[in-house]
């Protein structure tokens, strides 16, 4: 940096990434993270292989626009459920962040989960932190090349399996497996398998903390999600400072020092490469690796655990106990998030599980305002779009009500196969004397002949010419 003039220099407005070599750590939080890795990935990799009534249990069929989730078949008309799901996710994130900080980032986010798996592979092939640093500094050699090759091949294999699984949610996975083994995938299947694999490989293998630091918006608005009563990773400066190494033969120095022995373990294990002792930073994903690291060191030097711990800002300043932290958990924002979440979740599941497996849209024929036919009757024509959202065939009866003498022409009975959608035309007649001139409100009622609980009522307009 020092150039011709000592005060002014040409600097770059961009910087190269500095490789981070997180040290492996064991402890309570590491175990918890591995639990989440197993739970989320068993779900992700396993779910497409389950069957339900002779079809894949979870399948998003984009071609026919039917979305199967176990016993439920969702149609594009059910888009509201996706919106509700996103609202639920957002509020859960708000709630969990307000109480527990960035636990999502540290334990369940796919970026963290896949990075954890990829780092495990890296450790198995290239060795621990110091071995990896040594290997990278070595000049090119056969040993270095073979290690790197093995690592990237393993990453690639896992990434491809991930991409394959992802597409397996959209194309039946058994069909997809056959296509893969015969290399007869369609162009879009190829694209998505490879794209998703590449994204997994690139993000978990190469980008890692760069995703969290520069791509993810969440880090940038964490200050709006936190308050001083949110649990975050904190360093107990009051107990730790002044930091410094101890010498066995010099107990006097040790007395003058705080508990932090400045071993830098907390920095070495950090996946984003920060020093938590500098306080809360936007890079901190709340993974608590430094908590595990510091606790193991404290155990070794015989000091109490918790020099770095999950704690709140208020509790640290006011020297609160865990009970006091708990009592400050129930603050207005938490209560509001919780109640909103409870309402949306109950409406979501309530309507989803009790919804009627048939839909009916009533479209009045716009060409005619109403026909005058014999015996002083007025006739209107409607097109009914019937959608059987169930997977078995049903037999429906349609009736009309709303005006005295209103009558549907014909039997009004229709049979629909499973997940069939069909438009039918129906005539409705009213005695001219009974209806009012102009628009009359009427209702179409559709009922399942074999199961009267399946009933849909739709409002429509009957027009009597003036």
């Amino acid at each position: 940096m020092e150039s011709a003039s000592p005060e002014v220099a040409v600097i770059k407005m961009y910087q190269a990434r500095e490789e981070i070599y997180p040290r492996e750590i064991q402890g309570r939080y590491a175990t918890l993270r591995w639990f989440f890795v197993w739970a989320t990935q068993l779900l992700f990799y396993g779910l497409p292989w389950f069957s339900w009534n002779d079809r894949q249990a979870v399948l998003f069929d984009l071609g026919t626009r039917k979305f199967y989730i176990f016993g439920i078949v969702l149609w594009p008309q059910d888009f509201i459920y996706l919106a509700a799901l996103l609202i639920i996710s957002a509020y859960s994130l708000f709630l969990f962040t307000a109480i527990f900080g960035r636990v999502w980032c540290g334990f369940a986010c796919p970026q963290t989960v896949y990075t954890e798996i990829f780092m495990w592979i890296e450790r198995k092939i290239e060795g621990d932190r110091s071995a990896r640093i040594r290997l990278d500094r070595q000049p090119a050699s056969f040993r270095k090349f073979s290690r790197k090759l093995a690592k990237h091949m393993s990453w690639g294999a896992l990434a491809l399996w991930t991409g394959f699984t992802f597409v397996g949610y959209f194309t039946p996975i058994t069909v997809l497996a056959n296509e893969v083994s015969a290399l007869t995938l369609g162009p879009w299947e190829w694209f998505w398998v490879l794209f998703y694999s590449f994204a997994t490989y690139g993000n978990a293998g190469w980008m890692r903390e760069q995703v969290c630091k520069y791509m993810c918006p969440y880090a940038r608005f964490q200050s709006a999600m936190f308050d001083k009563d949110s649990l975050i990773i904190t360093y107990d400066a009051g107990r730790g400072e002044p930091r410094g190494a101890r010498h066995k033969d010099d107990p006097a120095t040790a007395k003058a020092l705080g508990d932090c022995i400045d071993c830098s373990m907390c920095v070495q294990v950090c996946p984003t490469g920060i020093d938590i002792r500098k306080g809360l930073q936007y890079e901190c994903i709340g993974c608590a690796a430094c908590v595990d690291a510091c606790n193991s060191v404290m155990d070794k030097i015989g000091a109490p655990r918790g020099l770095v711990r999950y704690w709140t800002d208020h509790a640290m300043t006011n020297r609160w106990t865990a009970e006091q932290i708990f009592s400050h958990m129930f603050r207005p924002r938490v209560l509001i998030y919780t109640s909103v979440l409870i309402v949306i979740v109950s409406v979501f599941f309530g309507t989803l599980l009790t919804r009627t497996p048939v839909k009916m849209d009533v479209i009045r024929d716009r060409g005619s305002m109403g026909r005058e036919i014999e015996n002083g009757m007025i006739e209107n024509v409607y097109r009914l779009q019937l959608m059987n959202t169930d997977e078995s065939a049903h037999h429906y009866r349609i009736s009309v009500s709303g005006i005295d003498s209103i009558k549907l022409q014909g039997a009004g009975e229709f049979a629909l196969n499973g997940t069939e959608s069909r438009a039918v035309a129906v005539n409705v007649r009213v005695d001219e004397a009974k209806g009012e001139k102009g628009s009359n409100k009427i209702w179409f009622t559709l009922v399942d002949i074999d199961n009267p609980d399946i009933l849909v009522k739709e409002k429509a307009v009957f027009f009597v010419p003036r």
Binding site: M13, R17, D365, G367, E379, R383, A425, N427
Partner: protein, 310 residues
């Protein structure tokens, strides 16, 4: 390209686009390094930019890969402009156009669905009318292309014939229906006031016309009108039974395309009528029209189709 009325605008856009793209590249390159103050230990605290006297920009360099993304977008943009139309009148190396893409997709759709329709084209219309699957296809076609005028139930509307009864302006045989859909029809009745006579005569003829179908016609007026009906008989026939060869309606049934009141009938005698059914041969193609003909014919000749599929 036909979008431009003169060559100037094509060149204008080309120059502007190229200059902008290279301008972005130059900006990116020229701004990737700056001269600024460095502290004694080599640490760069701020970029040296200050605003409003005291606001300083801290030195937070962006990652290098991010900068590469900017360069990649520039390369992508240039490649795109080379391959696809974007620079004025230049059509692009690949020669892509939305029109040819549409035609391509149309061709693919025809290849996929064409055989399905072609299969039915060989079958006689009367046989097709009792084929449940052909009926279902015909119904969907009818609801898409015909229902706007003839109604979803095909029972017509004022001015648009009912297709479910046995009254046909141009004939109800399968071939006649198919010809109607393929080529369209133009039903013209000229104004007849000159030929019929006075307003009184017109009223009398109207009552005579009504008397064919036993409607509430005045018998005296009808009797007088009978003589003047001679002018109408050329098309509608002396007995008023109409003539499908010229599309003249049968006046003796109770079916009235525009209404059966004396006033309406007088109006028609006075002013005539002009009614058009458009031709669908080019728009739908003969195969679809064949299926539609079967559906329409079946509407008034339908006795054997399973009840459930109605």
């Amino acid at each position: 390209m036909a979008d431009f009325t003169s060559g100037f605008w094509g060149i204008y856009i080309t120059v502007l686009t190229i200059v902008s793209v290279f301008g972005c590249a130059w900006l990116l390159w020229s701004q990737s390094t700056i001269k600024t103050a460095v502290s004694k230990d080599g640490h760069v605290e701020t970029t040296g930019h200050t605003w409003d006297e005291g606001l300083e920009e801290l030195n937070n360099p962006m990652p290098r890969w991010w900068m590469w993304l900017f360069y990649i977008t520039i390369v992508f943009g240039l490649a795109y402009l080379f391959l696809y139309p974007g620079l004025g009148a230049y059509a692009g190396k690949l020669g892509w156009a939305s029109k040819s893409q549409y035609e391509e997709e149309l061709k693919l759709a025809d290849e996929e669905y064409g055989p399905l329709f072609a299969k039915y084209q060989q079958v006689d219309i009367k046989m097709l009318a009792v084929d449940p699957q052909a009926h279902a296809i015909g119904e969907r076609l009818f609801l898409t292309y015909c229902a706007q005028c003839h109604g979803s139930d095909a029972r017509g509307n004022k001015g648009y014939p009912n297709l479910t009864d046995s009254d046909w302006l141009h004939g109800g045989e399968p071939d006649a229906i198919k010809a109607t859909i393929l080529k369209g029809r133009n039903g013209t009745m000229p104004p007849m006031s000159a030929a019929v006579g006075t307003e009184k005569d017109i009223e009398n003829v109207a009552h005579y016309v009504l008397s064919f179908s036993d409607s509430a016609a005045d018998p005296i007026k009808a009797a007088i009108g009978k003589e003047k009906f001679a002018a109408c008989a050329a098309c509608h026939g002396a007995n008023g039974k109409g003539n499908t060869a010229v599309g003249a309606p049968n006046l003796t049934d109770k079916t009235w395309l525009y209404g059966g009141s004396v006033t309406t009938i007088m109006e028609i005698i006075r002013g005539g009528r002009n009614n058009v059914m458009p031709a669908f041969a080019e728009f739908l193609g003969e195969a679809k029209v064949h299926l539609l003909s079967a559906y329409v014919w079946g509407l008034s000749n339908n006795s054997t189709l399973p009840a459930a599929s109605k």
